[in-house]
Subunit: 252 residues, 2 copies
């Protein structure tokens, strides 16, 4: 038996900040939010909020300040390339009131990759890193991300972002994992709602969510239970399973 | 020739608010943000910000107030079902300081759908609508969404959300459409960045974005130009095409 109660579990929180006009216009469909959310849940980091903002410095600065003050970590994606619309690094420096310049470590990485003769001004722009930041390795295209305070600044291209997320999460402490279990119910939410609300009252330490879906032309419901305590989670699952069984045998 | 200059174009702005623990945990991958963003861009509504918040009333209230004060419209998705974790309607009422109760119009719709004998307390919960709100038709599963002030409250299930978005956007004035054109370049951003920055300076009324991607194991770039003025957009496209042609013929 493990000790029960949320107070015994350390919780690590985070937010995701997606930066880019192309996501807001719908031209590019974001693939990073779902990936980061699932990844963080699996390693014991709770994503509590997501924001998507345009390529406007004031908007990025405001969002970074709000999110970094409120959560243990912020994972940002996008805007760290070599073109004029890549303004994330400058915005991060401004958000934290530090200077920004070509970082010798980043210049060395880019020189090694492109060769000094091909390291033009635009590519050198990718070596602009806020003062005091730690670099995040980019095994795909070399130009590094960086961590400033509790903000992890990553690329927007999914394959690069994923490699950077591996690198950065290896260096930060994570919390107790949120465990979850899904109980499928072959009925709409309306039949199960009353009983489910009663179970939620009996299990204040287990978060119970109800997710309707279309199935074979009718409605079905996934009941998702989440807790950091495996025993309580199992007890909650049994209660929900008993509720569903009783509804299936009861007259409608 | 059409008149040039952004001042002649009416701009309508909006934000998207996604409500739901299941998106933040990564269990459900959001399909609504990209859909709404692309849809709104096509009809002349600029999405300026997106937030995803958990099923916590204080969080929903704070986000609704921030977004509705700042943009012409807010499109919310999720949390209007019959179960205990569906708290969006109550949060909207609290955000705007109005009462909430069973709405006779909504009760009539649900009674017609389920029959009075099957309209249990949970299903009746879906008729809770903030005072003064207009209903949004739900042709799929009947339980309506609603518009309160400038916030359009829709279901989270994509097929239902899409039907509600059709209904609600038919009733609101839209602005001048943002036009866009994409110029593909078979080279990485680093080669094109300097010339692109110069073109952006020549075309302050055309937003020029550069989006790198992996292609056949190498890097390619999509240059996306956006403007509400078709003539200026076409001029910008020609400038970018000439830049790419000159780079392709120049020694690297």
């Amino acid at each position: 038996m493990t000790a029960s109660g949320a107070a015994t579990h350390r919780i690590v929180t985070a937010a995701i900040l997606v930066i880019g006009d192309e996501i807001l216009s719908g031209r590019t469909k974001d693939k990073n939010i779902g990936y980061i959310a699932e990844y963080c849940t699996a390693i014991g980091i709770d994503i509590r909020e997501v924001r998507i903002v345009p390529d406007i410095e004031e908007e990025i600065v405001a969002a970074v300040r709000a999110l970094s003050a409120r959560y243990d970590h912020v994972f940002s994606t996008g805007g760290i390339g070599p073109t004029h619309d890549d303004i994330t690094a400058d915005a991060m420096a401004r958000a934290f009131g530090v200077t920004i310049d070509h970082d010798p470590r980043a210049v060395a990485i880019l020189t090694g990759h492109y060769g000094a003769e091909n390291l033009n001004e635009a590519r050198l722009r990718m070596a602009r890193i806020p003062a005091g930041a730690a670099l995040i390795d980019n095994p795909v295209s070399k130009a590094p991300g960086f961590t400033i305070r509790n903000v992890h600044v990553m690329a927007g291209v999914p394959v690069i972002m994923q490699a950077m997320l591996d690198a950065v999460t290896a260096t930060i402490p994570t919390g107790a994992k949120m465990l979850s279990a899904t109980v499928p119910a072959s009925m709409g939410e309306g039949r199960i709602a009353a009983g489910l609300g009663a179970i939620q009252k009996d299990f204040p330490d287990v978060s119970i969510g109800s997710y309707p879906k279309m199935l074979d032309g009718g409605f079905a419901t996934d009941i998702v239970l989440r807790s950091r305590d495996a025993d309580r989670l199992a007890e909650g699952v049994r209660a929900v399973e008993q509720l569903i069984a009783s509804l299936l045998t009861a007259p409608r």
